[in-house]
């Protein structure tokens, strides 16, 4: 597979390696369904931003490149916000303030400035997909740890007769509540970061 795509999944993962986008990673990782929804939003915005920044790199003046990138990113975020509020109101309600805050997710501005503004359209698309999916995987991993330990459940999308909630036997009745709280988010990210660092240092020997 193309390295521009694969680098964002693990090697340069935005959350666990670059430590970017930690604000939503802390804020919306209480439920798996919220992490997946936020991840989808970030992939869409990152893809749109990278495509337009790459296409317009010769048109955007160097002196106003950051305001231009912010306008492009904010436009895509507003599109996500309006579409989500209209067609997925429950998810929109759960994600709350973190949807508009995608604008200031430094992982997105970071990729626009560091990659899309200097590379071809094809590579920028692959970079956005890889980084976006890597961000979603990281966020979902944190949400899985927090929700399983903190609530004893895994909340997915409701379909037909399935209410969307998988209840873990025993743990559902006596969960470790701290993982549902803000402090639990810091704890879960800290532990996963330590695990990530330990694995990478073991790989390097």
């Amino acid at each position: 597979m193309n390295k521009e795509f694969t680098k964002g999944l693990v090697k340069d993962n935005p959350i666990f390696v670059q430590l970017l986008g930690l604000c939503p990673a802390l804020g919306v990782s209480g439920l798996v369904v919220n992490a997946l929804g936020m991840g989808a939003g970030v992939i869409f915005v990152m893809l749109g931003a990278n495509i337009f920044v790459s296409l317009l790199k010769n048109f955007i003046p160097q002196k106003v490149r950051i305001p231009s990138y912010i306008v492009i990113i904010a436009s895509f975020v507003t599109i996500v916000q309006m579409v989500m509020e209209a067609f997925a109101p429950e998810l929109y309600n759960n994600l709350g303030v973190f949807v508009p805050l995608i604008v200031v997710n430094c992982a997105i501005l970071g990729r626009a400035e560091a990659f899309a503004s200097r590379n071809t359209l094809k590579d920028s698309v692959l970079d956005a997909l890889g980084m976006g999916i890597g961000f979603t995987l990281g966020l979902t991993l944190i949400a899985l740890v927090r929700e399983i330990l903190g609530a004893g459940t895994i909340t997915l999308f409701a379909m037909g007769g399935f209410d969307g909630v998988i209840r873990i036997p025993i743990l559902h009745l006596a969960p470790v509540r701290i993982f549902s709280l803000a402090s639990g988010a810091l704890l879960a990210i800290g532990l996963l970061l330590a695990l990530f660092n330990w694995k990478s240092s073991a790989k390097r020997g």
Partner: protein
């Protein structure tokens, strides 16, 4: 000067295109968003108003009660009110919809907009959460506002989210007093 004009023009062009695209998408999503809001409000109104007929929304002069809907029985007599109430939660303001009989007794309530913690305060969105308030607010049973006023089983259900519970209890209590003070009379 020419360079400055060129930079400004390019940035303005980017902004104009972005605004046009957003206006187009807003024209598609805005009616659906408004429809969703109305449906959520209607559903909550019907759920908290028992079997009574629901009248049109009226403004109130109470600070935390943003709207009231008169309820009438089958003969058309005023039987109570449903109120839209603002309450304070763990993560900011919460919006409640609560139905009352004329003496201030709670029919039931629903938690609408809120930013409470998923798995804790957010559990108050479940209709069963409001069972502890049903039938309270009259002369015999005050609206519970603190955890120690609940039975042991009910108190277990609010462990970890007592601020949310107290906020909801205080909001429902304020609504109960408001309806009781109206005493079945329109202002």
């Amino acid at each position: 000067m020419k360079q400055l004009a060129s930079i400004s023009l390019r940035l303005a062009l980017i902004c104009a295109v972005a605004a046009a695209v957003l206006a187009l998408i807003n024209s598609v999503t805005a009616p659906q968003i408004e429809y969703n809001r109305e449906q959520r409000l209607l559903q909550a109104l019907q759920e908290v108003s028992g079997d009574y007929e629901i009248g049109d929304a009226e403004e109130t002069d109470a600070e935390k009660i943003t709207a009231r809907y008169p309820l009438s029985d089958q003969e058309g007599n005023l039987a109570g009110y449903t109120l839209r109430i603002l309450a304070s939660g763990y993560a900011g303001e919460m919006v409640l919809m609560a139905g009352y009989r004329l003496d201030g007794t709670v029919i039931t309530a629903r938690l609408l907009d809120n930013e409470e913690t998923p798995g804790l305060g957010k559990e108050a969105e479940e209709p069963s959460y409001m069972e502890k308030f049903e039938g309270t607010g009259g002369d015999q049973r005050p609206v519970p506002q603190r955890k120690h006023e609940l039975s042991e089983a009910q108190a277990d259900g609010v462990t970890g989210s007592t601020i949310t519970f107290s906020g909801i209890g205080e909001g429902i209590h304020a609504g109960s007093r408001y309806v009781a003070e109206l005493g079945g009379e329109d202002e």
